[in-house]
Symmetry: C2
Subunit: 430 residues, 2 copies
């Protein structure tokens, strides 16, 4: 299928007519609203809806809003009908509602180069999982040794923890290096200082479209039906803060300062042809986690680092989402199995996606083996962890026959920690 | 200070004019809106605001809404001015705007017996801490032995974990026993079944009124200024699910099925005279956690259990909020110290509040010492953990000179786990 929007037909474009991911955009001074990416253009969905050219089947408009949530909560039939209609409107030889109307077309298609992209949906709650076996083995080996690398529950439960929704930000948002409490193994007392082991985690995020009910478990098929789409996700991590705080209650401030996601939500429908199976089970799963069919996706992923002033970014790793032991549908099922209500806009991080080779490791913690083996960047600089001014970037795509269903990129630049000295005078003066 | 609403002057009433806690209420068929408790009446704040008798200083009304968030985000000057004005309107010998107008008074005062109470605010995110030292010692001793009871970070960090906001419910909401994965220490493989060790945790919840900024740390004084008020909080816990899932990422499904809070938010202003100091520091805290003054409160707390059909509830424990090692202000400071943005409506659980004596233990896990020492209820029934049909109830108050600043109660009845068998046919038919 080709589009009459020619830039969408480039075989390297992330946004062909087969993709049509959703996001939120505005030109300077305009009100943010929902759009879909097509080549180097953004389709103004609010305008198309106003003009009566698309209809999500809702009694009130859903696209003239600064978030996708209203559309997401409508569910599969609305998602499918809008997708089919958009492909009819924008494919070569489709319904001729726009091509004959240059004035309308010029208003409906907004060049990406002119638009700012916003967080695509209001994040209800954010949960991060730990479903990459190679990552769990690597981290476990670094922290506890090879014999005790994998926690006893890991092959039975898609383990995860609740993260912080308030600091989920869209690609392009700067990330301030966190202050926090750390204690080196040899230190007598903890210190309060800027994180010295700042890291990325290359992940995918699953976006919940339709809600579940409190007190009611769901099956893996029901969970898959609830998922609206997927984004790239960088789970920024402060390893030194994490090491001191995480026992026994899990990661907290080490993960709370920022989580970046890509601005375009790639729909489940666009990914359908890239479905594949999770790896063979090493131990039989309890029946509530059985997958009724292939539930993971074949998505190529890369992470790059570019220091301030460096001429080019350095490829840190390339891996694939199909490495994950647990699918997002399994994670969502487990999340709801005790009766936890899941809502429109809930975001589920996959866990770091690492492959078997060092070149496939999705975090600096693994790439530098706990900071012991520095990596050398293109310009000759060395890194163990992230330094101020470094820009970290994730990208990914599913490779179709002559086109890519892409996720664009997920970028963040690290800024220095804030100056902060709790004033003793406050104590004396209060 | 006395009120002309006579029921507020009963020395055992939880809601004298010194208290004036905020909540959300409606009679059957009415639209939920904000109110304040006074004796056995609810003051209809939406009506008072509409009549021009109170003014939160906002350009649009804040009380004709089904949540306190709009009022909460206005901050201290609005909170103070509304409180002062309400006391003027309802105290004996105050401003005579209502007493001379029987028709208006009859509309402004809604008998509690006629009203349903709702969740008082939209919970943005929920965090649960672990700040009771006796509780941490008890649980640690039960799980790991007395030598390793307290985690190494405990005396340095007010440790906590992110909980699930979607299942925070108001007192009176039934709680469905969760299904989940458990594994007995002697079992070879895990099982999927209803929780067999269902527990309560007696806690206080701090409610964040004004937000912080992403990337900007706050002091303990700033944190205290951000807190709008406090509620009773029951952090229902599935101990068997928790035991199998919690390492290394912390509590997840064991705590995700329900968290109950009391319907009335008692303001910081009403608690001001009950401020007291946290206990002496056993190890010096890092300066960012220094308290500029007394930051905890003297609040008597009780938990009761009443089986279905039992004539009377049984007192499980009585304790006091002043037992906590860390204050809510310290917890909020730590929560934001790495730059985590805190929002209006964030809810912070204190952690279980246990005193030194067995009669002061705030959970069944402690009261029955891990289920090994059953307790006997008033009617002769025995319990280790909660059984279906049991009603659990928390209450609490600060004792003033001739009046109580009370929190009312936080009640929940446990219902049986749902029938749920993932259909194999789904797998075959998909």
């Amino acid at each position: 299928m080709k589009s009459w929007v020619q830039s969408a037909n480039d075989h390297l474009s992330h946004f062909p007519i087969q993709n049509l991911p959703y996001g939120v955009f505005a030109r300077v001074g305009e009100t943010p609203r929902c759009g879909a990416a097509l080549g180097d253009q953004i389709i103004d969905l609010a305008l198309l809806e106003k003009e009566g050219l698309i209809d999500a089947g809702n009694s009130v408009p859903v696209f003239n809003q600064p978030a996708l949530n209203s559309f997401m909560e409508l569910g599969k039939s609305a998602w499918d009908s809008v997708r089919v209609r958009l492909q009819e409107l924008f494919k070569e030889g489709g319904v001729d509602a726009l091509q004959g109307n240059a004035e309308l077309t010029a208003r409906v298609l907004v060049p990406m180069s002119e638009a700012e992209l916003y967080l695509p949906f209001k994040v209800a709650e954010y949960t991060d999982f730990y479903a990459g076996k190679q990552h769990a083995m690597n981290i476990g080996t670094i922290l506890r040794g090879a014999e005790n690398a994998l926690p006893p529950n890991w092959l039975h439960i898609p383990i995860g923890y609740n993260g912080r929704a308030s600091t989920v930000v869209v690609s392009g948002t700067d990330v301030v290096r966190p202050l926090g409490q750390t204690k080196a193994p040899t230190a007598q007392v903890p210190s309060f200082k800027p994180c010295a082991r700042l890291d990325i985690e290359l992940e995918m995020g699953a976006v919940v479209g339709t809600p579940s009910k409190m007190g009611e478990p769901i099956t893996v098929q029901q969970a898959d039906d609830m998922i609206f789409g997927y984004v790239l996700l960088n789970d920024w991590s402060a390893r030194d803060i994490q090491g001191w705080e995480y026992q026994p209650l899990g990661p907290f401030q080490a993960k709370a300062f920022a989580t970046s996601i890509s601005p375009w939500v790639v729909t489940k429908a666009a990914l359908e042809e890239f479905r594949t199976s999770t790896p063979p089970r090493e131990k039989e799963l309890l029946p509530y986690l059985d997958e009724p069919g292939p539930m993971i996706y074949d998505i190529e992923l890369q992470a790059h680092m570019q220091p301030k002033g460096a001429a080019t970014p350095t490829l840190l790793c390339h891996t694939n989402y199909n490495r994950m032991y647990y699918s997002a549908a399994q994670q969502l099922t487990h999340h709801a199995i005790g009766g936890c209500k899941m809502n429109t806009g809930d975001l589920l991080g996959s866990g770091t996606i690492s492959g078997a080779e060092k070149s496939e490791f999705g975090s600096l913690m693994e790439l530098t083996w706990g900071g012991k083996e520095p990596i050398t960047l293109e310009g000759g600089e060395q890194r163990t962890f992230i330094e101020d001014g470094d820009t970290l970037s994730l990208t990914g795509w599913a490779q179709g026959d002559g086109y890519r269903v892409g996720f664009g990129s997920c970028v963040g630049t690290v800024l220095p920690a804030p100056a902060f000295t709790p004033a003793l005078s406050e104590k004396q003066g209060a």
